[in-house]
Amino acid sequence: MKSFKLDWLVLPLIGAGIVLLLWQISSATWAKELPSPLKTWETSKPYIVEPFAKRGEMDQGILRFTWYSLILVAKGYALALLIGTPLGFFLGLSKTFTKIFDPIIQVLRPVSPLAWLPLGLVLFMGAGKNASELGALFTIAICAMWPTVLNTAVGVRAIPQDYLNVAKVLKLSRTKTLFKVLIPAALPYMFTGFRLSLGIAWLVIVAAEMLTGRPGVGGFLWQEYNSLIYEHIILCIITIGVVGFVLDRLMSLAESKFKTA
């Protein structure tokens, strides 16, 4: 197909239009409980036009909820990177370390956040009212760190022997080798891991909030499901999607900056 003026705008709008149409048809025919697009907009309006309003613990503007979720994700994500990056380095540098820990990592990696969360809550049961936050952080960190771990390890293993020879010949100290050679050389791989980890952290937040009932996009979604306000479920889904998309784009930008360096 030939490209034309404004095609970058028009074509995605056509796609969105088709989905809207299917949604409209579905809500009018076989899924009677599904609110129509128009109804969704009308019911969601107060949450969108006053995005930072706080009317109650579980009745706040959508951006305010998003903000709560983002803060929790940021904490859990930071924890994931803090643990995942060094772990990845050890895996990349030592064959013995890999032999010891790789199998267990491969077993833990596919476990769903829904399975980790109860364990997190049990772990931090003694923390009283902080238990739900700590449990959520634990879940985010343990689910989100694997791409960072594995990509960092691959990045470290892929460092050309030439670079390592330079470090050896100059007899660089361990710290200097790490900061002047290993980290810069592995950085592009590490960033790919960071980006994938952020995507997972954002996925996990919804599950974590749903199960703990914390205020946030996920918590709001679950509460509104229980309150039978289905329009807000759709509002939350769209919000989660848009935020996830924006986060991924921001990370891609950062990634491309480091790749050219």
Partner: protein
């Protein structure tokens, strides 16, 4: 003058499932201080293996190497190395790449002095204007200039060069040979260089060490090169002995380098490449024969 670098019965053996592969066997060489020695031989004959053992990056199986009265153990900045590929860290500028080594060797000097050393050598190799560029912005030849500057800037006891100009076009190669020989003359460094370019060896070296083909490579012959120094390429080419020496070297590489191959090579199956005197196929075939014997 006494011997500065002594390579004594140097041997390299790689264990393989089919028995040991002896790459270099009882390699002996003595180099005087300030001498420029070229190691020449077919590619794969083991000359790079010898050099990499001197750099310390490759473990020694047998024998030993003594530099300035001390036995070498492992790599170190007392030997300035120029690799075949420039081996620059791509996230650092040319200047930072040189500084990485300078900071390491002259850690007692202050920052300004170290900066001066790096800038001096980068200027000498002709990179005064582009020393703050990243390797990706430099041509292949310029990158190798940085490699040379880095090696000299360490003020090493000796220089080790592993086919440093092998990847360059002939014009750039000649330019860089000039850069190298001028720096060498200025700093009076002892140098050991691996090459397979006969003309390069004749232009640069005081002595040319011809290696026999592997496996079990060793010194085949040592050729003295008496062209007066400082050398000028034109004068060297017009020297009455030039073509005699060149012919001699080529004859060695063409015929005598193979003299160590056992007679069994005639019995090799026809499918193996016949004119591949030192390739891995040949070595493999040889191993098979030896193991069946």
């Amino acid at each position: 003058m006494s011997d500065y670098l002594v390579i004594d019965n140097l041997t390299k053996i790689y264990p393989t499932p089919k028995g040991d592969a002896v790459i270099v066997k009882d390699f002996n060489l003595r180099i005087k201080k300030g001498e420029f020695v070229c190691l020449i031989g077919h590619s794969g004959c083991g000359k790079s293996t010898v050099l990499s053992m001197v750099t310390g990056l490759n473990e020694i199986t047998g024998g030993g190497i003594i530099l300035a009265g001390k036995e070498l153990v492992g790599p170190g900045p007392d030997r300035g190395i120029v690799f075949q590929s420039p081996c620059l860290l791509p996230w650092m500028t040319a200047f930072e790449n040189v500084m990485l080594g300078v900071d390491q060797v002259f850690f007692t000097a202050d920052k300004a002095e170290r900066k001066q050393i790096a800038e001096y050598y980068l200027s000498v190799v002709g990179l005064a204007d582009s020393m703050h560029k990243k390797p990706a912005e430099l041509s292949q030849g310029m990158r190798q200039r940085v490699g040379i500057a880095r090696a000299f800037a360490l003020s090493p006891k000796m220089l080790l060069l592993d086919e440093p100009f092998g990847m360059l076009d002939s014009l750039t190669r000649m330019e860089l040979q000039q850069v190298l020989i001028e720096l060498w003359r200025r700093d009076k460094k002892t140098a050991l260089m691996v090459t397979h370019d006969v003309d390069e060896a004749l232009f640069l070296a005081d002595r040319i060490v011809c290696m026999t083909n592997g496996p079990e490579a060793e010194v085949g012959e040592i050729l003295e090169v008496h062209f007066p120094r400082p050398r000028d390429r034109k004068a060297v080419l017009e020297h009455p002995d030039y073509y005699k020496l060149r012919e001699h070297l080529i004859a060695f590489l063409e015929e005598r380098a193979h003299k160590k191959l056992p007679k069994t090579k005639i019995d090799l199956p026809k499918s193996s490449p016949p004119q591949n005197p030192n390739g891995s196929a040949h070595r493999k075939a040889l191993n098979v024969l030896l193991n069946h014997a």
